[in-house]
């Protein structure tokens, strides 16, 4: 770091899934130069699974993440499907996996919204942190808190019925699934379904009304123009399980479309930067400087053409109308987008539970064996890539993963930089307001570190202001 530059470090005290800290670099004029969110990724995993038999991988990879193991489970299963030559799963296997995935979306999005986001929304960003958490929500909005808990629980029940257990189940196996949905399991799940869809609808309204009412305050918060990326079906339909990569610019021009999943590295590259363990993926055509992009709920809504369920599609149209059909680049709009996805998952679960294919007995297919396979899926936090190579003896020889938090790394840096620029320029102390907004902006992306470290509704932070020689000018600590 050059003489005269200052560094502010914001560090979550508790290290859980992905420990992160924020460094804000000031230039000599005390202007914000750059912001960096450091995330310690569990990179050792890619080496750890060397030599393991390929059929173990979809279960083994769930150890990667305690937050969305189902996404890794299904993504790995898709990659291994390709290796065992299962190019077309049976209807039962495909729909069971879809059901599992939508159950995961329901539980993950419900957790994020009710535990992590609703306190900010309902109490305001500057409310006392002692109150601005899920405990505060339970006290002030007990009915909302109850719905959040039950929506999440319903998602977990779907996972249990499809994967055998709420966490770390075994449902997806190479070429298919190990069970169908019994009529008893289906009837159990049907009991509460109507209520689940109704609550999902209500929460979309809540997120929409809040966003539109506070648009003036929310629009600039951690916002910036960016490209957006997600998988979509060939006809442009939103699909979180199956599809091909599409990316659009901040203005909505198509950058890439129908990219072949198995050769994703032809369109995407990964850059390593000296200050972070994390890789920085970028769209090759745009180069390492401009090729970064956003993933997750906002990107998916920006990139897709339509939802195939009526309520979510109506909600998407309202969302798109705000920006006149162009992509929305407002960071805080992630929450509204996320709730539209929650509604879509509830509706899809409704369709699937009424589909007799789920009671089929044709569970697994095989085909011609290959030595390499890629799986791409939309995880709750964004596009997820699993890429494996195997040897003739069925052992893994290479693994490359791109997780959603990695793709959103650069966007989160931009969001923090934007907040810092709005609050810090020329000021030598870290205000409570800035601290709150750094937290809120990172949280909009629902990164693993955010939801792990503030599962109780609050992100523990240490903020330090350093001068050029490393002496502490100012320090703020916020415990969880």
């Amino acid at each position: 770091m050059g003489k005269g530059a200052e560094r502010i470090v914001i560090e979550p005290v508790t290290r859980v899934e992905g420990h992160g800290k924020v460094t804000i670099l000031l230039d000599e004029q005390r202007q914000v130069q750059e912001a960096r969110l450091h995330i310690v990724e569990f990179r050792g995993f890619e080496r750890f699974i060397q030599g393991r038999p390929l059929w173990e991988i979809p279960v083994l990879v769930q150890r990667l993440c305690g937050i969305c193991p189902v996404s890794h489970h299904l993504c790995a299963a898709k990659a291994i499907d390709h290796i065992v030559g299962a190019d077309q799963l049976t209807a039962t296997a495909h729909k069971m996996r879809l059901l599992m995935h939508h159950g995961q979306f329901l539980q993950s999005h419900a957790l994020h919204f009710f535990h992590l986001c609703s306190p900010d929304l309902l109490f305001g960003f500057d409310a006392d942190v002692a109150k601005r958490n899920v405990i505060g929500i339970i006290g002030a909005h007990p009915e909302l808190a109850r719905q959040g808990v039950l929506l999440r629980k319903y998602g977990q029940e779907i996972i249990r019925a499809t994967a055998g257990k709420k966490i770390h189940g075994t449902g997806a196996i190479p070429g298919g699934i190990n069970k169908n949905l019994s009529l008893a399991e289906r009837d159990d799940l049907l009991t509460d379904l109507e209520q689940i869809v109704a609550w999902s609808r209500d929460v979309v309204t809540l997120a929409k009304d809040y966003t539109l009412e506070h648009l003036e305050e929310l629009a600039p918060l951690g916002s910036f123009d960016s490209s957006h990326m997600a998988i979509v079906r060939d006809d442009g339909a939103y699909d979180i399980y199956d599809g091909r990569l599409r990316a659009c610019s901040a203005e909505g021009e198509v950058i890439l479309d129908h990219a072949d999943n198995q050769t994703y590295h032809h369109v995407l590259a990964e850059e390593v930067r000296p200050w972070s363990y994390m890789k920085f993926p970028f769209i090759r055509e745009l180069g390492p400087r401009d090729g970064w992009y956003r993933v997750g709920p906002l990107a998916r809504l920006n990139v897709c053409d339509y939802f195939d369920t009526p309520l979510a599609e109506a909600a998407r149209k309202e969302f798109a109308a705000v920006t006149g059909g162009k992509p929305c680049n407002v960071t805080m709009a992630y929450h509204w987008a996320r709730m539209i996805e929650l509604l879509h998952s509830a509706e899809t679960i409704d369709q699937l539970l009424h589909d007799p294919d789920l009671q089929g007995n044709d569970l697994v297919v095989t085909g011609e064996r290959r030595l390499e396979g890629v799986g791409i899926i939309e995880a709750p936090r964004g596009t997820l890539f699993h890429h494996y190579r195997v040897n003739e003896d069925d052992q893994i020889t290479m693994c490359n993963l791109i997780v959603s938090t990695t793709s959103n790394n650069e966007p989160m840096n931009r969001a923090v930089k934007k907040v810092a620029m709005d609050h810090l320029n020329g000021v030598e102390t870290i205000t409570e307001g800035m601290l709150n907004r750094v937290e809120v902006a990172i949280r909009a992306y629902d990164p693993c570190l955010s939801c792990a470290t503030h599962a109780m509704g609050q992100m523990p932070l240490v903020v330090e202001l350093h001068d050029a020689d490393g002496a502490v000018l100012d320090k703020r600590v916020r415990d969880a």
């Binding site: 038999p53 173990e56 769930q62 994967a163 055998g164 075994t170 069925d394 052992q395």
Partner: protein, 249 residues
Amino acid sequence: MEQTLEFTIDGLPVTAAPGETIMAAADAAGIYIPRLCAMKGLSPFGACRLCTVLVDGRSQSACTQPAAAGMVVENDTEQLQGFRKNLIDMLFVEGNHFCMACEKSGNCELQALAYRFGILAPKYQYQFPQREIDASHPDVLLDRNRCILCARCVRASQELDGKEIAGFVGRGGEKHLAASSGCGFVGTDVAADDAALAACPVGALLRKRVGFSTPIGQRKYDHQPIGCEKELRPEKSSTTSDVQKGVAS
């Protein structure tokens, strides 16, 4: 009619045919003695010591010791169960047993014993040994990370399959199972449906591509603790209290 001998296990009268082991007699009487290396149909081996009982006050392995008239056997005592619990615990830390990612989970005797004995996390330190996998055979895989050296596969291969697929090499901590060919299992006549594979109590000697094809809920120990199938009155055992009847993970 053949003569029978009478003795007691934990005070209960038990009968045995001459030459019958304490374990066989206990099984017939509906009394469970924990075990790992013993398996019905295979010659006794006496390696794991999990079946250790007190015979007239002296410790003996029930799987090898023939019953004798009038002997007083202690099995379900606090001391013996504690001793067994420690042995199970040590087997876990000695190898690399990550149940969560193991395809034998729910069907594994070691895991099932841990559940029966209420072990949720080992109290000893994990050793994290470096162990090799033999994946050379097209249909058979040996993951030594989970091998507990019980020799059930070795005996089953010899006694049931009429083959000689594997044996032990090395000593102490270095002791490991090796295929009886210089180039791994691919050089042996092992076959996927050999009794040797079915005999493995853990996820070490496996048929390839089976993986997780049995859903959770349909696995052997999903609904009742190991040993219950042998027990006349499982509720009487000190190791099957309600809290320990957890479903395998």
